[in-house]
Symmetry: C2
């Protein structure tokens, strides 16, 4: 089985879902279209990793709700123990930024502004999800929801970091020179390496 299969198992380990619902969850960890998900679910059920029950609905199509089996959980556990493969990150935006010298400063700035707008949207929606999780009475590290919480807070932090970088780029585009900033970046890089391991609170 491939990573998509294990991503599905990891989702069903926490909660039973239909293929349609899985599609939305998977966006966060391993994007896949429904045309890939449905055949995969069939294959996984044949192997005994999953079972489904049909939930009849009024006014909309019936669903197949999939649940993980003992065999599925065992397979997932074994897979988790192996060290993960390298992450894949593909971003057309970065290729376009790389070619910004062809684009001119105004158009480059527009490219970055558009990205900021998209990031603001996802920051807002992630903020809402985290607020929801705030409502939970007890969220311990052994809870099935703990991984979900880690995931969303990571997405949130990453989006904010990306936005900060975008704003830094806009600043460079305005000032047209970068020498001083290059210096600062390299400096903070080294500075942070020194600080590593020290509790930040001690610095205040």
């Amino acid at each position: 089985m491939n990573t998509l299969g294990y991503a599905i198992l990891s989702a069903l380990g926490r909660k039973s879902y239909s293929g349609y619902e899985l599609g939305k969850y998977l966006e966060n960890v391993w994007p896949a279209k429904h045309s890939q998900i449905y055949p995969m679910l069939t294959k996984m059920e044949e192997k005994g990793f999953l079972v489904h029950e049909i939930v009849e609905q009024v006014g909309r199509p019936n669903k197949k709700i999939y649940s993980i089996t003992e065999k599925g959980t065992e397979a997932l556990k074994k897979w988790i123990a192996k060290s993960p493969s390298e992450q894949i990150h593909r971003d057309e935006f970065l290729i376009k930024v790389y070619s910004s010298w062809l684009l001119g400063e105004e158009n480059s700035a527009k490219l970055v502004h558009d990205r900021i707008a998209k990031l603001d949207e996802s920051i807002a929606s992630l903020s809402d999800k985290i607020t929801e999780m705030e409502q939970m009475e007890e969220l311990e590290t052994t809870s099935k929801d703990f991984g979900r919480y880690l995931l969303f807070s990571r997405k949130f932090r990453l989006a904010k970091e990306e936005k900060d970088w975008c704003q830094w780029v806009l600043g460079l585009l305005k000032n047209k020179k970068v020498n001083f900033t290059v210096f600062c970046l390299a400096f903070t890089g080294r500075f942070n390496l020194l600080l590593d391991g020290l509790p930040w609170i001690a610095l205040i």
Copy 2:
């Protein structure tokens, strides 16, 4: 032509490369194996976007150095003007973190520690690359090297943010509860939204 093709054009826009060298550059924006790159270069040359010249070498195989043509530059310019597609991010590590409740706290911590070790490696090598760029006398926004600089500083910042998140996760795993942290995260989320647009320097 697909994104890989435009990624190649963007690289050759800055500097001429052999297929082998392109493979290494592409790792940063659009990872591709040589088995995908070589046929793509042939196809692109047939279309008139590229030309190559053979560089004979002693003691090692000859290279084909590819250069972008006028037609290639035009194609790249047109493509850059279109708004970029969504970024793709696939990471087995995150699926494993999501399933950390199955793993137990010790094994979860090991998973995160291993990630930190990998991040430290890339932080170190990116730091070196940025130091190299520091040497450059003039790095203006219209320079062909400007995009390259933006790219590496983004990679650097992202890796550092990822490491911070990892360390935060390790802290949670130790304390076993997250309620207070959830609160802080959501709070800083809102706080930062308030500060947006204000120059940070004004706060000192």
